[in-house]
Amino acid sequence: MTGQIAIEDVEPGDWRSAVGAAIQAGGQFDCLYAVPAGHDPVVRLVMRDGVGVRVLSTVAVASRTDSIVDLLPAAEWDEREAHDVHRVHFDGHEPMRALVGHPADRDAWITPVEGPDVHEVAVGPIHAGVIESGHFRFHVVGERILHLDLRLFYKHRDLEGVAAGLDLARGVAVAQRSCAPCAVANSLACATAIESLMGLEPDEDLRRGRTILLELERLYNHLHDLSALCSGVGFDPGAMTFAALKERAQRLNLRVAGHRFLFDTIRTGGGTTVLDQATAHEAGGELASIVREAGEAWRTLTFMESVQDRLGGIGILDRDQALRRGAVGPTARASGIRTDARAGSPAGLWYPGLEPARPDRPAGDVAARAGVRAVEIEQTGAILGELLARPPCGPGLAVAGRRQAAVGVGRTESPRGATVCCVEAAGGRIARLHLRTASFANWPAVADVVAGAIMPDFPLINKSFELCYACVDR
C-alpha cells in the first residue's frame, strides 16, 4: 500500500515534460493537490507504478503553474479544487469552471448549452427523498438530457483546513468524519499515510483486523446499493429485501466492532478490534446467512423481467471513457477495467491472491454496475468467512520497521473504489492532509454518461454509481 516515498522536485518550466515522462514510464494517476506556502503554493502530483508511489512536486510561482489536465484528464476536478481552495492558477485549463467555490455568477459554473427548445431543469440542493444535498442542472430538450452540470460542495466543512495544525494522531478522526458509509476506508487511508510518515508497519493481527473492518463496510454498503437500485426502478420487494439484509449487516458491525458504522475502530499505530473465538464463530454464521440470502435475492432479481428491462443498456460508461476519467471501484470494474486497490496483496492488509471482481457482462451500463456488486458481496463473504474462521489473536500494533516517508500516502479500496489520503507533517503536527475519495474520482463520469439519457433514467443511473456527497464536499 505504501512505498519509500521521497518528493521529486520539478522545475516549474519542466512540469509538463516531467509529468509526461512519468506517464510514459507507466505511472498511473492517484491525485493532485496544492500545499499553501505563502506567495508560491506548491503543487503535488501522486502517481503509482509497478514499483511504488511517486510524488512529483513543483512550485506555482506567483500562484501560477501549467495545467496537466490534457495529459491526465482524471486530474480535472483536482486542478479545479486546487484553484478554488488554494488559488492556484493552472495555465491551459480553460475554461476553469468553479467546483468547490459557489460564485453567484451562473456563467462561472454552468456550461452554455443553446439551441431550439433547449431549457434547463434545476434539481436540488434539497432532493425529494432521504438524500444528501447537491445541485444538478440539466440542460434538456423535452425529456432528453443534453448535458448535466454538477454543483456539489453544499456540505463543504473545510475538513482539510481543520486538519492542518492538529496532532498527527488526530488526523484519523477528521478523515472519519468526512463520511459515515466510507468511514473505515477513509480513516484507514489516513492512518496508513500517517504510519508511513512515522515509519510504522502493521503486524499480522492489525492487518487481519483492519481487513475485517474494510470488508464489513463493503458488505453493508453493497447491500444498500442494491436496495437503492431496486427503489430506483420502483421494485419495492427487492428494495426491502436488501434493506433488511443491510440492517442485519449493520447489526453484525455492532456485534463485531461495537458500532453500526464501525466508527472509531481505526487508530494510528494500532488496532481496536478484539474478537474472541465464540463471537467470531457466531459472526461467521450470520455473515454466511446474509451472503446466502443476498445471492438468493439477486437470483430472483435476474428473473424479474420488468426490473432487468430497466437496467440494461442505460448509463453506459465505456472502457475508454472510464480509463480517461480515471474511474475507480465497482464502476471501473463494470466497464471492464481490471482494477482494485486490494489486488496484489497490499502490504498493510490481508488479501492473499485477491483478483478484481469480474461481472458477467462488463458493459459499463447500470446492469453491469449492479452485477459487479452482487459478485463482490460473494467475494467479501469469502474473505470475511476465512478471517472470522481464524480471527486475529489481539488488536494488533504498527511497529517501527521502515524508513520514514516525506509524504505519507495511504490507499484503500472503499466500497466505491480507490481512496487516497496524503499527509505531510511539520514538527510532529499535520501540515497538510488531503483526502481524495472514490466518489470524488467517479462523479465526473456520472455527468458524462447522463448525456443522451432521458430524465426519468437519471435517478437510476445515479443510484448505479451510488456516490457520496459528504466525502467529496468534505
Binding site: A128, V130, F153, K155, C179, M240, F261, A297, F303, A470
Partner: protein, 160 residues
Amino acid sequence: MYVMYKRLQQLRRGIALPAPGVPGSLALRHVDCGSCNGCEHELANAAAPHYDFGRYGLSMVASPRHADVLLITGTVTRRMAGPLLAAYEAMPEPRLVAALGNCALGVDVIANPDELAGPAEDLLPVDIRIPGCPPSPSEIVEALLDAMPLLRRPIRKDEA
C-alpha cells in the same frame, strides 16, 4: 419472487413489531445540511422492515409543503442555510423542527467555523432533539412518536 416474499413474511413474523398505539401521523421532510451521511442512512433504515416506521404513521414526503416536521441533519453549513430556511418557509403551520443527530445539535462538530451557519438551533426553533452519532433507527422512531402529541389538538364539537 415467491422466495423473496416468503423471506419478507418470515422476517416480519420474526421481528413482531409492537402494534401501533394511539392513532396519528407525521409527514417528515428531511434536509441534509452538511452531515456525514450517517444520519441519512439511519433515517432510511427506520423505514426498512426491522423498524417499519410507516406502521406508526410516519412517512417521508417529497415537498416541505406536505410536511409536518422538518428533519435537519448535519452541522448546517453556510451554503445550506438558505435552502434550509426556504424549506421551512414553505411548510404549512403548525409545524415542528427536529434536529437529528449530534451535528445538528451542535455537539462534537468537526468543521471550520467559518463554513458554518449552524447549529440548527441558531437558525430555527427546534422542537425535537434526537442525539446520537448517528442515533439508531429505533431512537429516531421513538423520538418522532414522542413528538406526535405536540401537533395533536382536541377535535372541536362543530367540526364532527
